[in-house]
């Protein structure tokens, strides 16, 4: 449960959503549950493991329709990851589903050793990620998960921006022969992509073209970048938006192209500014001799402000207004 959420978008942002013709989809974690159920009907080897998290993970219908393919272990995340690894080692396509805050902190050692080091094709699914739980506070936030997992060898890290990317990420993870971490939020997402879009792990998706500034973002922040790009267009600025859904392996080609073609880059993420997408991009650019004007917008290194996910996003500039203001400052 969480406190009632005020609207994620300001009136001006809602107008921009209408102008851009964006339609409302499901929460990514709900899309995950629905899509995985459809895959699991065809593939009895797909097994879901939950830690009293089927409700949060919208997996109630999955449990009802495919009870033999869902294993409940109770509130025990370390055990959940170990069991997920054991299933994968024995040929099952296992998805361990638990709130990202617990999954990637309490059971980090199990992810590191049982899944990544043992190299079993398990999928670790962090739900209600980032600051999805809002005012429930820091215990329930996962602002460290990419930083922690980026330092562990042998795991693909994906934070989809919308339902389309969610389906693509789940399908790719189901087919992968190596470990995957999927990160989903619980807010309803807007559909961002054209019908001909293509999802491939490690390949950023261009959401909007432009060469004045590039927003490079992951997960639930991409939509705010797109709205900011729409707003900046009214000021005569053409901004690129890249959905860098895969934080590792990073699409360095798309990143470097943006650095060569744009005057500035803003990396945006629902994560600590330390160790996430922004620092991954910064390291790649610097080591390649590319030095565009560069800023990271995420959750700063401080006691996170209390509030809903929308409040927290607005407070730290993860909004159309905050991102537009920063872009205007950077472009002078």
């Amino acid at each position: 449960m969480s406190a009632p959420a005020p609207a994620m978008f300001s009136p001006a942002a809602r107008e921009m959503i209408q102008q851009l013709g964006l339609t409302r989809g499901r929460a990514n974690q709900e899309e995950f549950a629905v899509f995985l159920e459809s895959l699991a009907r065809e593939n009895p080897n797909i097994i879901v493991v939950t830690s009293d998290s089927r409700g949060s993970g919208k997996l109630g219908p999955f449990a009802k329709s495919l009870p033999r393919q869902l294993i409940e272990v109770g509130i025990a995340e370390q055990n959940l990851v170990g069991i997920t690894a054991g299933l994968a080692a024995c040929g099952k396509k296992s998805f361990g589903v638990s709130p990202a805050c617990f999954l990637t902190a309490r059971s980090l050692e199990q992810i590191k050793n049982d899944i990544c080091y043992s190299n079993v094709p398990a999928v670790v699914v962090g739900i209600s990620a980032g600051v999805s739980y809002g005012a429930l506070g820091t215990t329930h936030h996962s602002l460290h998960d990419f930083a922690a997992l980026r330092a562990i060898h042998n795991i693909t890290l994906v934070a989809p921006a919308d339902n389309f990317e969610t389906r693509g990420a789940v399908l790719a993870a189901a087919k992968a022969g190596t470990p995957t971490y999927l990160r989903f939020g619980k807010a309803a997402m807007l559909d961002l992509h054209a019908p001909n879009a293509c999802f491939e792990p490690g390949r950023a998706i261009s959401v909007r073209s432009g060469s004045d500034l590039a927003f490079i973002a992951s997960g639930e922040t991409v939509v705010h970048c797109l709205l900011a790009a729409g707003f900046l267009e009214t000021k005569g600025l053409h901004c690129r938006v890249l959905s860098m859904h895969t934080v590792r392996p990073l699409d360095e080609a798309a990143l470097h192209q943006a650095a060569r073609e744009c005057r500035a880059i803003i990396c945006v993420e629902e994560h600590s500014i330390h160790g996430g997408l922004g620092e991954a991009c910064a390291a790649s650019l610097l080591q390649s001799g590319l030095h565009p004007a560069f800023r990271i917008v995420g959750i700063p290194d401080e006691d996170t402000v209390t509030g809903s996910q929308a409040d927290i996003f607005r407070h730290y500039g993860l909004s159309m207004e905050g991102l537009s203001d920063l872009a205007l400052k950077m472009l002078g």
Binding site: I47, G82, I83, C90, G91, K92
Partner: protein
């Protein structure tokens, strides 16, 4: 796919296996001595358990290690890897000579179990990981319906890790009667007696309270171990075999001495240990003759 019988270990008498245990202790010490590193005391305490598992109980063989119907063994007390490597080499999973590279630069033979080595199911070494993994394996084995069993070996000091008890609870909840947890109950850990570091007794009552069928055996008695590890549970519950062992078993000056947890013998100590084990081998052979 090979039949279950193809994976069965070769038949041997208790005396033959007792003789093999002494031989495996010599190999374990040799590997540790050559590497200049290792976990001596716990390796020697669990040799008889591993010997019985791989030479009498487990339906697994080098030729059929990829078979989905094989039994699974995960060594949760991964630090006793030298003993496991010695048993796997003896069973033909890889050449004995490979052990000379243990812990050497660029060797696949890491100081804890790794899947790079034929016969190793999972990478372990951090404690409290084996049992949760084996719960997953036992669930998978039950789904597949091949009748495979899953075994793990835990140290008694390792039981302070809470993840073991999460898994113990889940295993009985899911009625995993194809799962066996073996406790190498040597009562010593790196800092001293387990009862002094953080007492976990009474172990049998704890596991029973978690819904397991508990069997307490002499962990150096080949026959008793064979029975405890072979017999299926009388109810649909997992089995816990508490194997009472002696840390450093077989070498007089290492037995029940905590400092040998990861002590490496000097050349003189090594020779003395090998001489003691050779003498024990001779005694067993004389009895057998």
């Amino acid at each position: 796919m090979a039949s279950q019988n193809d994976m069965s270990p070769p038949a041997r008498s208790d005396s033959q296996l007792a003789l093999k245990s002494i031989h495996l202790r010599k190999r374990t010490l040799e590997a540790i001595f050559e590497a200049g590193a290792g976990h001596t005391g716990g390796g020697l305490s669990c040799i008889d358990i591993l010997n019985v598992l791989y030479n009498r109980v487990l339906k697994v063989s080098p030729e059929n290690f990829d078979s989905p119907g094989r039994d699974h063994y995960v060594q949760s007390k991964g630090h006793s890897v030298e003993a496991l490597y010695a048993v796997l080499a003896d069973r033909g999973f890889f050449p004995v000579a490979d052990l000379k590279s243990l812990c050497h630069y660029q060797s696949h033979y890491v100081g804890h179990p790794t899947r790079k080595i034929h016969g190793i199911e999972m990478n372990t070494g951090a404690l409290g990981h084996g049992l949760p993994i084996c719960v997953g394996m036992a669930l998978a084995a039950r789904m597949d319906g091949f009748g495979a069993r899953v075994f793990t070996l835990l140290g008694d000091g390792e039981l302070a890790e809470g993840s073991n008890w999460e898994a113990a609870m889940a295993a009985s909840h899911h009625k995993l009667d194809n799962l066996v947890a073996i406790i190498d109950h040597n009562t010593l850990q790196i800092s001293g007696h387990t009862r002094d570091v953080c007492s976990n007794e009474p172990l049998d009552e704890k596991w029973r309270a978690f819904g397991w069928e508990v069997r307490v055996v002499d962990g150096h008695d080949i026959g008793a171990l064979s029975t405890a590890l072979t017999q299926r549970p009388t109810r649909p519950v997992p089995v816990c075999v508490i194997a009472n062992t002696i840390k450093g078993k077989g070498v007089s000056f290492m037995e029940n001495v905590a400092q040998w947890h990861h002590g490496v013998p000097s050349p003189e100590e090594y020779q003395r240990a090998q001489n003691e084990l050779s003498a024990a081998e001779t005694r067993v052979r004389e009895v057998m003759a």
